[in-house]
């Protein structure tokens, strides 16, 4: 038979491939399952991400609220300039602020820090507001002192339609409930908020910083106009206005887009882990399958098949299998879009629909193909080891993974393509590349560990216990599969432990109580002359309350060392928020207890007339700021230069008063300012509504409520992480069992001979257990180390939560994983550990 270089030969191979596949699919069921699960995860992530991005892109204008947004932050817009825009476009004014909203007329009234969005009659320029009852929105525009509240607020304060609520010293009637608004942003997604008519602004009092005022003007172009020309026209109008920031539809929902990108990056990396680990499982199962077909391969060779043709036969089977599984898994991924839709429409008011993308299908197929080929090359190459002469010598021969220079080179090329495919397409290529480097570093370490185990065990070969001796012999024998078992178990355990540690850290964050040093309340909006009134108000309710009051001023960083920071600090910088808008800053005499200095000196008292800045050390690192650098700050319209003289370690998670920038009090005390206060109470006598009677414009944030909201968000993320982890863990377990099954299958013959010689079932099982325990104990230590490092990185860098080392959890997880694996070994290997002698001897 000639090599398969013509179509008739290929047809013959294809015919045999289909025949073999239809007869053997049950023997490769674990390949089918692992491949399906891993491709399904990948498909689900791609499909949901695509559907979500399409939804965001299709609704970009609705999400932004217009064709263009003119953002004045806390400054009122320049009416002259805005009127110029109104001449050729529609402008809708939206002003947001935060204040306390309280129930009235109840025995015990409740208050909540609420974001209120005042809109004019042109709102929304795009999309629709979903509310009930029918006429509520129009009434809100028409009738003063009316308000619409969102579902969350209605539930938290138990407010019904037509009930009176109090905002500052004004009563409002709740005339409706809002289900969703088109312009989604962070607070709309997760917070308590309300919608009011523009007349509301005239009847409430606002103070600059404490109300978190935000003036936005949404612009809708005339349909006949060229959008690009109009954009340029508007840019031209505002080019000299330093206070304004223009936003375009492509910048809409940037926060949500960033969350989606970060999250899908994490999920993609987990899914590629699942794929790669599945690849190891596939390699193991395939080796076992080829070992079972050892005889038929030898017979095929004896009748004239070339090794190359037989290899093509197996590759073809895998290719057909992959194609069918990719179609099924990609198709199945559409079924989970409605679940994502339910979750997103409840939380964000976004609706996602399945989007078929041929490119995505191709990408998933390509990833599957690359993984399959990379891991099946050393397995299918083992066919070279089968000799037709084996049929004459009657020698049982276990096939081993076979690496030739050519196959290693081909594997390397495919692997590089896979890495490039994932790295280039990801949001943060450095993270992805780092992840792959870490993955293969783990693989190498586990390979070296296997060699180390073999090296040391060879020294203990002279054990007097026969079962230990057999176990050691099995581990150390030439051509043993110990390295592949150690690598499979090692990667599997590392993955399981890492995800379990991520999960337990998540759970701890969710269940976390308020830190000891955290106050009970934050108070904002205390004016310069109200300090004493505030203190008296608090102390009259709880004389032992611990009050901390600090001055607060709003400032924006205009320049760093004379250069506009926006020119060299990119939005993907972790600390971009510091320059993104104005920040609140304060001043103190002494170093704050929970903000230790990590570099530089505290205030230089010899320079009272110079602004000195104490900066958050992380921000300094992210912006590459050195001591002595000059910040030009805009404080109430005045540009002031200040020198950075020290860096502080700031942990915002302790929930006490923390500022990115602190100023030297000698200089700053003359700046017009408000106060920010915290209070920790010793009794439950503090009453928010009573406090509002004293200071109507005061805003109070209850830490417990805030934590509850954070917990709710974390819970949602935790569910997603748990789901994806659970699926990956299933793959991990299948891979572990496949690795063990290969070993078990190979040892079936050995166990058969042992039984003939008189070994009992218990002795054979015990010998296998000793082998497993030796490998498990070595692997689990290294896997734990990798898992600790990996989970710390994921928790701290991807989810930005607190990672904590918990020895008890580690012991518990290690023990559980060991036990589960042991049960798996027994389940999958029992038939190999206790083979039926008669059918085997009769070659049945």
């Amino acid at each position: 038979m000639e090599k398969s270089n013509n179509s008739s030969e290929f047809n013959l191979i294809l015919k045999y491939a289909l025949k073999d596949l239809s007869r053997n699919y049950n023997k490769i069921s674990s390949i089918i399952i692992t491949l399906f699960i891993s491709l399904f995860i990948l498909s689900a992530i791609f499909t949901i991400e695509d559907s979500l991005k399409k939804e965001l892109n299709d609704n970009a204008k609705a999400l932004l609220g217009g064709d263009l947004e003119i953002d004045y932050n806390r400054n009122q817009g320049n009416l002259d300039l805005l009127n110029q825009v109104k001449e050729f476009a529609t402008v809708s004014q939206m002003i947001e602020f935060s204040t306390m909203l309280s129930t009235t007329g109840r025995e015990k009234n409740k208050s909540l820090f609420t974001r209120i969005k005042t809109v004019d009659e042109k709102y929304p320029l795009y999309g629709e507001v979903d509310y009930e009852p029918n006429d509520a929105y129009e009434r809100m525009q028409r009738e003063p002192n009316t308000i619409l509240i969102n579902d969350s607020l209605s539930k938290t304060l138990n407010i019904k339609i037509n009930e009176q609520v109090k905002v500052q010293d004004q009563n409002f009637t709740v005339i409706g409930i809002i289900k969703s608004v088109p312009d989604v942003s962070g607070f709309v997604a997760f917070g308590d908020w309300a919608l009011a008519g523009k007349q509301t602004l005239d009847i409430l009092k606002f103070n600059g910083i404490g109300s978190f005022l935000n003036y936005e003007y949404k612009v809708k172009f005339n349909s006949d106009d060229d959008p690009e020309q109009v954009e340029r026209k508007i840019e031209n109008i505002f080019k000299n206005d330093q206070k304004v920031k223009l936003r375009y539809p492509e910048n809409s929902a940037s926060g949500i887009k960033r969350i989606i990108n970060n999250f899908s990056q994490f999920l993609s990396l987990v899914s590629i882990s699942a794929m790669l680990i599945a690849g190891i499982g596939i390699a193991n199962t395939l080796l076992s399958f080829i070992n079972q077909n050892n005889m038929s391969i030898a017979v095929r060779k004896a009748v004239g098949f070339y090794s190359g043709n037989i290899k093509i036969l197996y590759y073809l089977q895998l290719f057909i299998l992959l194609f069918v599984i990719t179609v099924i898994s990609y198709g199945s991924s559409f079924l989970i879009v409605p679940i994502a839709d339910k979750y997103l429409s409840d939380g964000l008011g976004l609706n996602v629909y399945p989007v078929f993308s041929f490119l995505n299908f191709l990408k998933i197929f390509l990833v599957g193909l690359l993984v399959l080929v990379i891991f099946s090359i050393p397995t299918i190459s083992s066919i070279n080891q089968v000799k037709a002469s084996n049929l004459f010598r009657n020698v049982f021969q276990n096939l081993q993974f076979y690496y030739s220079k050519k196959s290693v080179a081909v594997s390397f090329i495919f692997l590089s393509t896979l890495i490039l495919l994932f790295t280039i397409g990801s949001e943060q290529p450095t993270y992805s590349l780092g992840y792959f480097v870490a993955f293969f570093a783990c693989l190498i370490v586990f390979f070296l560990l296997s060699k180390l185990i073999i090296f040391f065990l060879k020294k203990f070969k002279s054990s007097s216990i026969v079962l230990v001796k057999i176990s050691i012999k099995n581990i150390t024998q030439t051509k043993s599969i110990t390295p592949i078992t150690v690598m499979s178990l090692g990667l599997g355990f590392t993955l399981l432990l890492t995800l379990a540690l991520v999960g337990t850290n998540f759970q701890r964050e969710i269940a976390k109580s308020i830190p000891d040093i955290a106050p009970d309340y934050f108070f904002v909006g205390i004016q310069k002359g109200e300090r004493e009134k505030f203190e008296q108000g608090i102390l009259s309710m709880d004389k032992d309350a611990n009050i901390e009051i600090v001055p607060m001023v709003s400032s924006g960083i205009v320049k760093i060392n004379g250069v506009d920071p926006n020119t060299f600090i990119k939005p993907d910088n972790d600390s971009y928020w510091v320059i993104g808008s104005e920040r609140r800053s304060s001043w103190v005499e002494d170093i704050p207890k929970d903000n230790p200095i990590v570099m530089g000196e505290w205030w230089d008292l010899s320079k009272p007339n110079q602004l000195q800045i104490s900066l958050d050390a992380k921000v300094a690192k992210d912006f590459n700021i050195q001591l002595g650098d000059i910040f030009t700050l805009n404080i109430y319209g005045r540009e002031i230069d200040g020198e950075v003289i020290n860096f502080r370690e700031v942990d915002y998670r302790d929930l006490s008063i923390n500022f990115v920038m602190l100023f030297n009090p000698q200089f700053a005390k003359e700046i017009p300012h408000e106060y920010l206060a915290t209070a920790k109470f010793n009794s439950d006598k503090f009453d928010e509504t009573e406090m509002l009677e004293v200071m109507p414009s005061l805003s109070m944030i209850k830490i417990a409520d805030y934590l509850l909201k954070v917990t709710a968000v974390l819970n949602k993320v935790f569910i997603a992480v748990t789901l994806i982890s659970a699926v990956t863990i299933i793959i991990g377990l299948i891979v572990i069992s496949s690795a063990i099954m290969v070993q078990g299958k190979i040892k079936e013959y050995q166990n058969l001979v042992f039984k003939i010689l008189g070994f009992s079932k218990k002795q054979i099982i015990f010998s296998s257990l000793i082998e497993f325990i030796i490998i498990f104990m070595s692997v689990i230590l290294i896997a734990t180390f990798f898992a600790v490092v990996g989970s710390k990185f994921i928790i701290e860098n991807i989810f930005e939560l607190v990672w904590q080392f918990d020895f008890k959890v580690l012991i518990y997880l290690g023990f559980s994983i060991g036990l589960i694996t042991l049960i798996l070994i027994l389940i999958t290997n029992l038939k190999y550990l206790n083979p039926k002698i008669y059918p085997l001897i009769r070659n049945q």
Binding site: R393, G758, S760
Partner: protein, 221 residues
């Protein structure tokens, strides 16, 4: 000579799909100590099944097997393994050596299992006796068929068992090796006083045994 093994009304049936195959039919057989018996018959007559039952590798559908006055058919798998470990050596047509164990290790395994003090030393003495001194550290794949069978016999007799079961021991060997193997086997049973039940197609080899049993359609003729 006293009786070593007694088979009483042994039946063995298999279910293959809907078919019920009767392999052995009401077999009664007594084997005395130090007796050598050859079992002959056509392919599929039930010869190998008979020695599988005697070796405790399979349970009969009905009937009793009594070995050294102990009924092994009523014992569990581990108890039968214990008897086989100490008292029964088995030689197969296909040798059944452990491929990743050397010749010495294959033989020593049985001795180690029975807690011998110097199993490898004993194994070497045995292999040397069978002319395999130069093959101590070779793997089965590096041995010829005759050499592999000599290692298998050495392993089977290492514990000096009361009974040796041999299933076509020369079936895979050439004439020269067949003669060598049969000589070794018969010389050993004579010297050590073991009993031998040997299944064979080879009439010359069958004639070497003191008693010859013919099986046809699962019955002793």
């Amino acid at each position: 000579m006293s009786t070593l093994l007694r088979l009483k009304k042994i039946n063995l049936k298999y279910q293959t799909g809907k078919d019920n195959i009767r392999v052995l039919n009401n077999i009664d057989l007594n084997i005395r100590k130090k007796e050598t018996v050859s079992v002959v018959g056509e392919s599929g007559s039930g010869k190998t099944s008979l020695i599988m039952l005697v070796g405790g590798l399979e349970k009969p559908t009905s009937g009793k097997i009594i070995f050294q006055n102990q009924e092994i058919t009523s014992l569990n798998e581990d108890e039968v393994s214990e008897i086989r470990k100490k008292n029964i050596g088995i030689v197969f047509q296909s040798f059944y050596l452990i491929p990743n164990y050397t010749a010495v290790e294959n033989v020593a395994l049985t001795l180690e299992l029975n807690n011998f003090k110097n199993p490898e030393k004993e194994a070497k003495i045995l292999l040397d006796r069978f002319g395999l001194k130069h093959r101590f550290n070779n793997l089965p794949s590096q041995l010829s068929g005759g050499e592999q069978q000599r290692v298998a016999i050495a392993r089977a007799i290492a514990m000096k068992p009361e009974l040796i079961l041999a299933d076509e021991p020369t079936g895979n060997l050439d004439t020269e090796n067949s003669t060598l193997i049969s000589n070794i086997l018969f010389k050993y049973v004579k010297e050590e006083g073991s009993s031998l039940i040997m299944v064979t197609h080879d009439p010359k080899l069958a004639d070497k045994a003191k008693r010859k049993i013919k099986i046809k359609d699962g019955k002793i003729k």
